[in-house]
């Protein structure tokens, strides 16, 4: 567990603590060394300097997502689980979050499991995609090649086909 972390829209950090306090407490939980400097670095990296002493409950969705992501990488996990990290974000914030995650994956060589319904996002950042329904993997492959292999123009069209007719793909 010490080398794993996650971020999900349904697991917000406590709104009654400040950004700094939340990162400090979760840094303690994950046994991060040189914690105060690590928190300082993450606050800078995720553009949270203005909100350091602001309670998380007062932040916008985009700001909260950045804090959650800072918490998710605080222990430099080798496996990072993300559930809809860009859901309900404006395009600029979503772009920033995608950049941070891809940079983290590249620099740390960590594995990132990214659950998303945004197929354009998946196509842009993932090197392998799995379509999962009712706990079963229906399709998997490279997001750039997979649509063509199933006669679809892009991943979104493939997603719609899988969602509407999962039984066809279950038998593949």
């Amino acid at each position: 567990m010490a080398k794993l972390n996650f971020s999900a829209v349904y697991a917000q950090l406590p709104g009654n603590m400040t950004v700094w306090q939340n990162l400090y407490v979760f840094g303690l939980l994950y046994g991060v060394s040189d914690l105060k400097n690590r928190v300082k670095d993450l606050i800078k990296k995720f553009n949270l300097e203005r909100f350091t002493q602001i309670k998380c409950g007062l932040l916008s969705s985009g700001e909260n997502t950045r804090v959650n992501l800072a918490k998710a990488v605080i222990n430099s996990p080798t496996l990072l689980l993300l559930d809809e990290p860009t859901a309900s974000l404006d395009p600029s914030s979503a772009h920033f979050i995608r950049e941070q995650i891809t940079a983290y994956a590249k620099n740390s060589q960590a594995g990132v499991l990214w659950a998303s319904h945004n197929m354009h996002e998946v196509e842009a950042v993932c090197d392998r995609v799995l379509f999962v329904s009712q706990g079963k993997i229906l399709l998997e492959g490279n997001p750039k090649n997979l649509p063509g292999e199933h006669g679809k123009k892009d991943l979104e069209e493939l997603f719609i086909s899988v969602a509407r007719e999962p039984l066809i793909f279950e038998s593949l």
Binding site: A11, L13, P14, G15, V25, F26, L29, G31
Partner: protein, 265 residues
């Protein structure tokens, strides 16, 4: 067991207490009000007639010790509720935090808030009513130990119930100590209770504390044996409550209810 995990649970509570007047005052207010009400009541009773009964040490001492029981229990339940209210379980238990470390973090919080609470009311009782809890002598340490351990077990049992049933069971937290009040003879000897109820009283650790308190104040005698029974009972209940909590936690985690905790079961 990693101490920095325990520290994280404690530090979170200290962050919440710091600069928050409502949380801070809650540590002292109820017990202070009890001391004020019972202080004046006993002062009045002492002034009526020619009674030689020691109202102030018997009643005020008992009220302070009972208040300490409530505080020890709430020292566990309130920090737990902070995690319920802020839907923090998923974040906490997806981290390397273990259940025994979480409980120890809550116990550390209870020690701090309980100590602060008792310190304030001891000063208040001494300044306003010339009653020193320390006049009970060394047995006071044993009284406080039994009460604290039993308070912790009540707190852990309460949070087990809330964890299993959901946030709607929170109200049990406020009432459980007061259900035990009449049964453990806070203000009267348990010998005045009906025979069947006395059997129940003897199963409650705090009964031995309040009987011991009266023995010291009224007869200037102290017998350790009943208190050791009380201590053994308190330790037994603490182990039982912890076992129940761990078992409940496993069920709730296995069923995926931690993530959907606020929806109740």
């Amino acid at each position: 067991m990693k101490l920095h995990h325990v520290k994280a649970v404690l530090v979170r509570q200290l962050f919440l207490l710091r600069k928050n007047f409502t949380r801070f005052i809650n540590i002292f207010l109820w017990l202070s009000l009890d001391v004020i009400v019972w202080g004046f009541t006993t002062k009045y009773l002492s002034s009526v007639g020619e009674s030689s009964f020691s109202f102030i040490p018997v009643f005020l001492g008992a009220i302070i010790l009972f208040g300490f029981l409530v505080r020890a229990q709430q020292g566990i339940t309130l920090p737990f509720f902070e995690d319920v209210w802020s839907r923090n379980f998923l974040n906490l238990f997806a981290s390397p935090l273990k259940i025994n470390e979480y409980i120890l973090g809550l116990v550390s919080t209870s020690i701090l808030t309980g100590a602060a609470s008792i310190a304030v009311v001891v000063i208040l009782a001494s300044a306003a009513f010339h009653f020193s809890l320390f006049s009970l002598g060394l047995p006071l340490l044993l009284f406080l130990l039994i009460i604290f351990i039993f308070g912790l077990s009540l707190g852990i049992a309460t949070i087990s119930l809330v964890l299993r049933v959901g946030p709607s069971a929170e109200w049990f937290s406020w009432i459980i100590p007061f259900i035990l009040n009449p049964l453990s003879g806070v203000l009267y000897p348990i010998s005045v209770l009906p025979g069947g109820v006395q059997v129940i009283s003897k199963l409650i650790p705090t009964s031995y504390v309040f009987e011991g308190l009266r023995e010291i104040v009224l007869h200037q005698t102290f017998s350790a044996k009943p208190l050791l029974i009380g201590l053994a009972l308190a330790i037994f209940y603490l182990c039982l409550a912890y076992t129940i909590f761990v078992h409940t936690f496993k069920i709730v985690r296995r069923n995926g209810l931690l993530a959907r905790f606020s929806s109740e079961i």
